[in-house]
Amino acid sequence: MPGGILTLITFVPLVGAIVIAFLPRERPDLARFTALGTALLAWVFSLYMLIGFLPTHPGFQFVEVADWIPAFGIQYKLGADGLSVVLVVLTTTLTWISILASFGPIKERVKEYMISFLILEVGMVGVFLALDLFLFYIFWEVVLVPMYLIIGIWGGPNRIYATIKFVLYTLVGSLLMLVAILATGFAFQDAHGGQWAGAFDFEQLRAFAGTTGFANGLQLGAFLAFFLAFAIKIPMFPFHTWLPDAHVEAPTAGSVILAGILLKLGGYGFIRFALPLFPDAAKTYAPAIIVLSLIALIYGAIVALVQPDLKKLVAYSSVSHMGFVTLGIFIFQQQGLYGAILQMVNHGLITGALFLLVGVIYERTHDRTIAKMSGLSGRTPVYAATFGFFMLASVGLPGLSGFVGEFLVLVGSFAYAPAVAGVATITMIFTAGYLLWMYQRLFFGEMSAFLHEIGSHLTDMRPVETLTLVPLATLVVVFGLFPGLVLHLVDGTVTSVLNSLGRATAINLLFWQ
């Protein structure tokens, strides 16, 4: 594997964005296909990385280091372990799908849109690959601006409120995280005789946290700041209210990326940074976070039950589903961690697909009110079947990918405390409830008058739309049947995180593979 593959994946989209900036405004198709081509190229590179990745090899691979701000030991350092690889491939996949899905709906300012999307990809991939805390923070913030523009410029009627809320909410968390990052780096420097070298290098910080360990006060404070940043991104109850607004207003592809990748940044942050660097604080706060996760699980599901707007329903379902991720992480069990990672991937695929599907109907009816739709299955059977497939995947039907992640988290939480597993299990009933009910209202029964009025515009899925969903459906089935494909990639990550928490990793999960 040649060096520089990670830089290539990260910055290929930036090159594409710069190229698009110089394309003529009158020819939007040129911008569209350049963007798609760039995203596909990044995707191919990421697959190349996936092939070259050695799952049995512990630690980070393809590491690239260069001094950036030597005065503070800040480096340009990229590297990938299993978790990074999985999430990077998810990102590159969803990005080209989203760009393809934007071909039809986005007709205004196509150039700017595609540039925003590609820069967004730079930020997302960078977050998953950065091994320097300072660099990580920069990529973290880079994600913010394009998303702000995507919601704010190409969004729905209430887009400005939604996008400003999104940015402010995220900034409050991330700026405090910056304080925590700087404090952590300084604590490292202080403990190394004032030498800044390695002060923001994740591997050195982790080694330090594993041996000497950061002072208790710093851990408690810094963890809290990291937690706030990540909890807002995930989003955890009660920091979730930006999500429904952002989802409802964002264009379809924006919602896909928001749900598919942006929410995963939080979970990734917990697993990569918060737990290994501040293990003692993590243990202190874990019970409270577990309670919040359980609240999010049930609360999100119940509130989803009564949403009149299709997108809001899916948004609240995200709150609920991501509760499994935080629950899985903070029970500090091997299965829980595996489950949380798998759930992140699955939620990205399934909810991404659900948003694409909502986009399909929205494009035809310009409405997402569930009450106005009924009897869709007669006119659009392929759509109904596809929707049904992903709906069942979201419910957690065994055989599809949604099931395995949730099941693993449940097994882990049972080992943590049966009561926790019980509460989480109840959620699955609610989940089935709101999703099946939603599906029944949309697709069964007589066709509503509103849909009759749409008339011949109410067509079944177009080839492009099918094309965006087929890869997702394939992965949902493949990961449902062979979750080991993902799980064995992250063995190293899970082991090292549990080690840093001082937890044994005795349980053999071979039977999943």
Binding site: I69, Y137, Y148, L168
Partner: protein, 488 residues
């Protein structure tokens, strides 16, 4: 005055000559802007070169009252950039309003000499003279649109309150002089060092002197609660002047703080630490909160400049808390703030090329569609002012925060307050972006033509805004040299 002295002060003399030259050129070719502008910019280039040359041989002149060190060089070059950029941005605004350009440039260069003198002076009296030399042209500039009542009103307020605060400051200087027996910074520092290291107790008079001086400089940097003059003066002034006022005198006043508080009163920093912390917290919080409610971009930027004063004070507080990095952060922030803030004001000025165009938010509606490049550059400056990476503003903020976190204790809380403030500030900065890109214009205006100088200035500021965020290492070594020059 020896030959060495002459070389040491050559940049200062050159600056004065440039100002005179501009006036003479205007006398020869009255009303023509190109010769005057060329003279001014070329002259400033020469001044910059001389500054760099003089900076090669650090030394003192006039018996230690004038010092050239890394700090002087850094600050001087910063001042020269400020003035040059302001001159570049001005014609597009001044010309349509029939305001003379040559005088504008000359007055600015005179102000530059004052600022340069501040940066170099290591004597309390020279310091005061230099301060006055810097701010007096500012009063003139504020009233530059003499037929505009708002401009005149703002200028008068600025002048009255400015004189008031100068008097207070001078009063404080007198106390220090009286109680230490010297006006030389080095002597004062030595005298105070004895007190700090357990000598005689600090006289109440000296405490009063500190209070007067702090109040005086707090006024000049527009720290809360001594900021009242800023919004009125900023809004009334012609936009290029506002841009200059928000940067030049502010950085100049910080230079004064560095020479006075760090150089002379550094050993008493334990005493002024708490005051600076409170000032910093108040300044950024009030600046941001009031900026939230502004519908006029110029006024909003005025309050935002107050908030940025607060962030720079965090760096000063970190120094007082025992961290040299605080000074470096303050200097870095000063440079970053200079370019991003001047850039933002330049866009506002460019938009106001046509007389009668206000600086209200509505002016910005649909700018992203009408003049995309201007919109994108403005977005860049605003993101930098917010502190989003990878921009200069972000790195400046990270730097002062790092210093505060290092100092620890109450400064950690100050760091958190600063970050919460930054998040709140995002609201009003991004609101401009909302207007530019997410709203349709109220009236369909023609895209305007902007002069080459404006574009050159905008490119300079924007490139620097990005570079200082992306590749901070070179400037980092410069500011750490500069901070080291002050001693610790």
């Amino acid at each position: 005055m020896s030959g060495q002295d002459l070389l040491t002060i050559s940049p200062l003399i050159a600056a004065i000559l440039v100002a005179v030259a501009v006036l003479i050129v205007d006398l020869i070719a009255p009303g023509r802007r190109e010769p005057a502008l060329a003279t001014a910019l070329l002259g400033l280039g020469i001044v910059a070169i001389l500054t760099a040359v003089a900076g090669r041989t650090p030394g003192q002149a006039f018996g230690g009252s004038y010092t050239v060190d890394a700090l002087t060089t850094f600050l001087d070059l910063l001042f020269i950039s400020i003035v040059a950029l302001t001159i570049a941005f001005a014609p597009d605004y001044l010309e349509p309003r029939d305001l003379p350009i040559a005088e504008f440039a000359a007055v600015l260069v005179f102000a530059l000499t004052g600022a340069m003198l501040i940066a170099a002076s290591t004597d309390l009296l020279v310091l005061f003279l230099a301060l006055e030399l810097m701010v007096l042209p500012g009063y003139l500039l504020a009233a530059y649109a003499k037929h505009d009542s708002l401009s005149t009103e703002g200028a008068i307020k600025y002048f009255l309150l400015g004189s008031f605060s100068s008097a207070i400051f001078l009063f404080g200087l007198a106390y220090v002089w009286g109680l230490t027996g010297s006006t030389r910074v080095a002597d004062v520092a030595a005298e105070l060092g004895k007190i700090a290291s357990g000598g005689p107790a600090l006289a109440p008079g000296l405490a009063l002197g500190l209070a007067f001086m702090t109040t005086g400089v707090a006024f000049k940097i527009a720290a809360v609660p001594f900021h009242y003059w800023t919004p009125d003066a900023y809004q009334g002034s012609p936009t290029p002047v506002t841009g200059y006022l928000s940067v030049g005198p502010k950085v100049g006043a910080f230079a004064l703080i560095l020479r006075l508080f760090v150089g002379a009163l550094g050993s008493l920093r334990g005493d002024w630490l708490d005051v600076v912390i409170v000032l910093a917290a108040l300044t950024m919080t009030l600046g941001n909160l009031v900026a939230l409610t502004q519908n006029n971009v110029k006024r909003m930027l005025a309050y935002s400049s107050i908030a940025h004063t607060g962030y720079m004070l965090v760096g000063l507080a970190a120094y007082a808390g025992g961290r040299q990095e605080g000074l470096q952060g303050l200097l870095y922030y000063g440079a970053a703030y200079t370019f991003m803030n001047l850039g933002a004001f330049a866009v506002v000025a460019a938009l106001q090329r046509r007389p009668g165009v206000t600086s209200s938010l509505d002016t910005f509606a649909g700018l992203g569609r009408r003049e995309p490049l201007l919109g994108i550059l403005m977005t860049l400056f605003l993101l930098s002012l917010t502190g989003i990476p990878p921009t200069a503003g972000f790195f400046g903020k990270a730097y002062v925060i790092l210093a505060a976190v290092q100092a620890g204790g109450p400064l950690t809380i100050l760091a958190v307050i600063a970050m919460l403030n930054a998040a709140a500030a995002a609201f009003y900065y991004l609101r401009v972006v909302v207007y530019m890109f997410m709203r349709e214009p109220a009236t369909e205006g023609e895209p305007q033509r902007h002069g080459n100088l404006v574009w050159a200035g905008l490119w300079t500021t924007s490139v620097l805004t990005i570079l200082l965020g992306l590749i901070p290492a070179p400037l980092l070594s410069v500011v750490s040299d500069a901070a080291r020059a002050l001693g610790s």
